[in-house]
C-alpha cells in the first residue's frame, strides 16, 4: 500500500518539485526577512538560520502531511476504498499504508531541507544525533496530522473540507509555536498556548537535540507528548474509519 502511494508521488514530478521548493523558499525568504530578529535581546540564538531551520523542517512536515486527507477523499470517490475493503487486506493496513508513506516523505523532505540549510551556513553542535532526533520529531508530528487529515477526509468525504481546515488551523498553529519566534519573546498568553502546541513540542525537541549539551530529559518528554498525541489522532482516525464502514 505504501508502495502504491509512493509510485503515485514519483509519477508527479511537478508536485514533488513544488513540495520541496516551497520550504526552500520559506527558508530563504523568512531567513532573510526575519534575520535581524536574532538581534533582539532575549532571543537566545546567534544565527537566525540556525534557529529557523528546525522550524522549517517541522513546518513542512506539518503542511505536507495535512494534505493526506485529499488522497483519502479521492480513493473514496473513485471506489478504490471500497475495493480495498472488500479485499482481505487488513483494515489496519489500509490506513497505516498511507501514514507510512507520509513518514517516508517527511524524512526525505527533511533531509533535503537540512542539507540546504547546511549549505546556507547553518551549524549544529548536536551533530548527527541531533539530526536523527529532529527527524523523529518531524515524523512524530507528520503522522498524527496525516491521521487527522484522513479523519477529516473519512468524515466529510470532501477535498474542500480538508483544504479549508488546513488553511484555517495550520498557520495559527505554526505562529503560536517557536518556529519563527523565540518563545521568550511571545506575549504571555501565546507562551502558554505554545506549551500545549504539538508543533512547538516538535520544533523545540529538534532544536534542543541539535544544540550543544542537549537537555535530553526535555527532548524525551516532548517526544513523549507527541507520541501520546499521535495515539489520540490514530484512535480518531480508526474511529472515523469504523464509522465510514458502518455507514455504507
Amino acid at each position: 500500500m505504501t508502495l502504491r502511494d509512493m509510485t503515485h508521488l514519483v509519477r508527479q514530478p511537478w508536485f514533488v518539485a513544488l513540495m520541496l521548493l516551497q520550504p526552500i523558499i520559506w527558508i530563504v525568504m523568512y531567513g532573510q526577512l526575519f534575520g535581524r530578529v536574532v538581534e533582539l535581546p532575549g532571543f537566545h540564538a546567534t544565527s537566525y538560520i540556525d534557529f529557523i531551520t528546525p522550524g522549517i523542517v517541522v513546518m513542512s512536515a506539518l503542511f505536507s502531511s495535512s494534505l493526506t486527507g485529499i488522497g483519502t477523499v479521492n480513493d473514496i470517490d473513485r471506489g478504490v476504498m471500497d475495493r480495498f475493503l472488500v479485499s482481505p487486506a487488513s483494515r489496519a493496513a489500509i490506513i497505516i499504508g498511507r501514514l507510512m508513506n507520509q513518514a517516508i516523505v517527511t524524512v526525505v523532505q527533511s533531509l533535503i531541507l537540512f542539507s540546504l540549510a547546511a549549505l546556507m551556513g547553518a551549524r549544529y553542535p548536536g551533530g548527527l544525533v541531533g539530526l536523527v532526533v529532529l527527524l523523529i520529531a518531524a515524523i512524530l508530528l507528520a503522522v498524527p496530522f496525516a491521521a487527522l487529515s484522513s479523519t477529516l477526509g473519512l468524515v466529510f468525504k470532501k477535498g474542500e473540507t480538508v483544504i479549508g481546515a488546513v488553511n484555517f488551523f495550520l498557520l495559527p498553529l505554526t505562529f503560536s509555536s517557536s518556529v519563527f519566534m523565540a518563545q521568550g519573546l511571545m506575549p504571555r498568553w501565546m507562551q502558554a498556548v505554545s506549551e500545549f502546541n504539538p508543533v512547538n513540542w516538535s520544533v523545540t525537541a529538534g532544536r534542543a537535540a541539535l544544540a550543544s549539551n542537549p537537555d535530553w530529559l526535555y527532548v524525551i518528554t516532548r517526544l513523549g507528548f507527541l507520541a501520546i498525541f499521535g495515539l489520540l489522532c490514530g484512535s480518531a482516525a480508526t474511529r472515523a474509519f469504523q464509522a465510514y464502514r458502518n455507514s455504507s
Partner: protein, 324 residues
C-alpha cells in the same frame, strides 16, 4: 451447496430509507444469477451486504459457504467484486493495480507475475498494461475491474451494474466475457436494470422491487407465465384510466387488464383480433386512444404484473421520492 444464499435481509439506512425489506435469493453454484430491478430497488445494498461492505439489520447471508456477518474475512477471500463505480486506481497502471490486488490476497513472486500476465492477456489489456488506467476507455476500465476481481481465482463473482455507461460494442464484448467466465465454472451474481441483460445472460432471475423479491425463475419461465400477446394502449387522458379498465375487463379473450398512468395494458390470447374489439369498447365509452402496441411479453411486462408499475416508472418514482 449454493454459491450464495440470502435469507430475509433487511436494511434501513440512517436517513430512514428502507433499502431491503426481507430479501431472499439463492444462487446455484456455477450459474449466472441476475438481480433485476429499477434504481433504488435495493440491488446495490444487497450486494454490499453479501460482499461484507455493509451489515444487514437482520437476516442471514451466506457466500461460498461462509456467513457474511460471522466470517467476513473468509468471504472476502472467496469472492471478487466489481462495484458500480469502478474501483480501479486511475493513477496506477493496469499491471500495478493487479499486482497490488494480488498482494492483498497474499500472492506474490513469480506466481503472481504469471497470473497478472495471464489476466492481462485474457482481457486484451497486455498492450496497455503499463499505461496509467486513467487513459483507458470505459470498456477497458471495466475489464480491468473484472480482471482485478479475478486475480485470486474466486469461486463467486459479484457484478454490480456491469455495463452501465458502456457503448454497445463494449457492452456486448463484456456479455461474451461474462458468459465465458460462467462456462469456466464461476458462480456469478449480477445486478442490472437492463432487461435485455438479464434476459440474455442469466440462468436465473430474481426481480426486486422496493427491497423485496417479487418474482423469480428462469427468463423463459417468467415470460411464459404471461401467455399470449401484450397489448398496450396509450390513452389521451390519464384521468379516465379507471373507467377504461372497467370497460375492457368484460371483454372475451382479454386478461389482466391493468392501468399505469395513461397506459392501459392487457393480455390477449390473440392480440390481432382482440385489438379492434378493445378500440370499439373504448370508443363507445368516448375514451380516446393515442397509440397502440402489441408485442410478445418481455421481462418488463413480468415486472409490471408483479408490481403494478413498469420499471421505468418505478425508477422515476424513486428519484422523485429521493428529491423530496
Amino acid at each position: 451447496m449454493n454459491a450464495i444464499k440470502a435469507i430475509n435481509l433487511t436494511k434501513t439506512y440512517k436517513n430512514g430509507v428502507r433499502a431491503l425489506n426481507g430479501l431472499n435469493l439463492t444462487v446455484k453454484t456455477g450459474s449466472i444469477f441476475a438481480l433485476l430491478g429499477p434504481n433504488g430497488a435495493g440491488k446495490s445494498t444487497a450486494v454490499k451486504i453479501l460482499t461484507t461492505l455493509s451489515a444487514a439489520d437482520s437476516g442471514e447471508g451466506n457466500v461460498a459457504g461462509f456467513d457474511v456477518a460471522r466470517e467476513p474475512g473468509k468471504v472476502r477471500r472467496a469472492i471478487g467484486c466489481v462495484a458500480q463505480n469502478s474501483g480501479v486506481d486511475a493513477e496506477s497502471t493496469a499491471r500495478e493495480n493487479l499486482m497490488l490486488q494480488g498482494h492483498f490476497h497474499g500472492m506474490g513472486g513469480r506466481e503472481l507475475k504469471t497470473r497478472v500476465s495471464e489476466l492481462l492477456a485474457q482481457f486484451s489489456l497486455t498492450d496497455s498494461a503499463n499505461r496509467l488506467a486513467k487513459t483507458y476507455s470505459g470498456g477497458m476500465q471495466r475489464k480491468l475491474d473484472i480482471a482485478t476481481a479475478l486475480i485470486h481465482r474466486p469461486a463467486v463473482l459479484f457484478l454490480d451494474e456491469p455495463t452501465v455507461g458502456l457503448d454497445p460494442h463494449a457492452r456486448s464484448e463484456l456479455w461474451d466475457e461474462i458468459a465465458r467466465l460462467s462456462k469456466a465454472g464461476l458462480s456469478i451474481l449480477l445486478t442490472t436494470h437492463y432487461l435485455e441483460e438479464a434476459d440474455k445472460l442469466a440462468d436465473y432471475v430474481t426481480i426486486v422491487d422496493r427491497g423485496r423479491a417479487v418474482a423469480e425463475g428462469t427468463p423463459e419461465e417468467l415470460k411464459a407465465e404471461l401467455r399470449g400477446d401484450w397489448v398496450q394502449l396509450e390513452l389521451a387522458d390519464a384521468e379516465v384510466g379507471k373507467r377504461a379498465r372497467l370497460l375492457l375487463q368484460g371483454l372475451e379473450g382479454l386478461r389482466d387488464v391493468q392501468i399505469s398512468g395513461a397506459l392501459l395494458y392487457a393480455r390477449a390470447d390473440q392480440g390481432a383480433t382482440a385489438l379492434p374489439r378493445m378500440l370499439l369498447a373504448l370508443q363507445s365509452g368516448e375514451i380516446a386512444v393515442v397509440s397502440v402496441r402489441v408485442s410478445r411479453p418481455t421481462l418488463d411486462d413480468v415486472y409490471l404484473r408483479h408490481t403494478g408499475h413498469t420499471m421505468t416508472q418505478a425508477g422515476e418514482t424513486k428519484r422523485e421520492a429521493q428529491v423530496e
